[in-house]
């Protein structure tokens, strides 16, 4: 494929909700293009009909009884939050 440009990097960064400084975008574009070129070595092999492997072990998802197993640690967990109030996590206003 053609190398990625800074506009494409900006689009991917937006999808990832990740701010990139404008001056760093060309370097990321060049790195990403090189990585994708490396990755595309996979195309040298025909994988038609090969079953994709998502996971190293063939295992079924374990189920557990539908019982309460956790205690409420809200205060302890919120002690490390950037901002909380009345047991809620605070973020900038979303709805006017």
């Amino acid at each position: 494929m053609t190398p990625l440009g800074t506009a494409e990097v900006a689009k991917i960064a937006h999808l990832a909700r990740l701010a990139i400084r404008e001056e760093d975008a060309p370097a990321y574009a060049s790195n990403l293009s090189a990585i994708l070129e490396l990755v595309e070595q996979m195309n040298a092999v025909d994988t038609t009909g090969v079953t994709p492997m998502a996971h190293p072990l063939d295992m079924a998802q374990r189920l557990r009884p539908d019982e309460i197993s956790e205690t409420n640690y809200r205060d302890y967990f919120q002690a490390i939050a950037p901002r909380t109030e009345a047991g809620l996590y605070l973020v900038p206003k979303v709805i006017e």
Partner: protein
Amino acid sequence: MHDKTIAQISAGLAAGEFSSEELTRALLERVEQFNPQLNAFITITAGSALAQARAADRRRQQGEAVPLTGIPIAHKDIFCTDGIRTSCGSRMLDRFIAPYNATVVEKLNAAGTVMLGKTNMDEFAMGSSNETSFYGPVRNPWDLDAVPGGSSGGSAAAVAARLTPGATGTDTGGSIRQPAALCGITGLKPTYGRVSRWGMIAYASSLDQGGPMARTAEDCALLLGAMAGFDPRDSTCVDRAVPDYVAALNQPLAGLKIGLPKEYFGEGLDRQVAQAVEAAIAEYRKLGAEPVEISLPNSQLAIPAYYVVAPAECSSNLARFDGVRYGHRCENPKDLLDLYTRSRGEGFGAEVTRRILVGTFALSAGYYDAYYLKAQQIRRLISDDFRRAFEQVDVIMGPTSPTAAFNLGEKADDPITMYLSDIYTIAVNLAGLPGLSLPVGFAGQRPVGLQLIGNYFAEDRLLNVAHRYQQVTDWHERVPAGF
């Protein structure tokens, strides 16, 4: 006292030659003395270490000690430790005080180990040189101009420099084995599912696995015995009995079939590394083993497939770092999107950013089949290569890394060159197999590691094969000058 292995310390404590508190004090002094040079620890937990040591000494007096009671260790800073900063080598978690213990930490605490501190690592375990850490690079005790490898570079350097007799590490594409090789110690990546991942900060969930790092295979056996086992809190942790790894160490190697993949001895392998590995294989022949050449024909596809699978999983796992509930939050966000993007942009370093972007791209609409699906198919081919090989041989051997430790800064600006340093280790993670690195010589002043790859859940066999070699050689006893 600081030069003893875990097995020797265990015997010394049992015989009353010294207390855990005395040993812990001595090691904490060494950490204070050498850490400014090595940067192997991010956090030193002297206060809680001494409290744990005194508790271990009391437990011993009460006759309730087990082999690891009172043994000082260090945890890679990827394992959550209740009430203690768990940074994962990132600015994102610089002020993150974990609210619970990882299962591995919990299990080692239950055995009575003493935590000296949390070791430095590549940011979110993404790196092969420990240079991507927010806390700066770790230096290799064998040569301070060299990298220790990564991502478990702090654990490897601390063990090599005799600051701790053992440490935990994690391995997603070589992060236990490669630093073990570059620092001249022994490190084991267990079979996927052998050790619980609960509380181990996720990078690529279908590849990540925690394991022990120590000077000898015997010490790794002692640590793994305490770390391994079923955990209902990790849905991928396998419910299977943990064998007595120590009891299996001394099995004879006569008739052991060793597979030497021809793809691991080709272009790109440093001549001195090849010589040390070949000498080790000759030693195995003397022990009665039978090396045979094998082929893992899809080896060259491991790195390309890994750099789709791992970034894809990382982009998904690291989505949780959003500046809302914990971790870094930017100043004065103007709206929610600004809060997310700036918190993440400021919190993550360049390598983590690269991998999140690659993963996001590979999973984005229209690209899934060409990248992620293709990589999963390649993963199957790689796994099938190993399955066929293990129909013929008991273990596979080769170099852990194509070169000995490289210089700090040498590859830092070129991600692709850096990625290639994991060329022999990555396929093992894709297949989910256990792998071990042990020291087998030097290239100049810098150590060389031999990689052993075993079949699923054959950790006992790998530790046995490594231990027998260490009974007749002394590479694992070499101490870096100045330490």
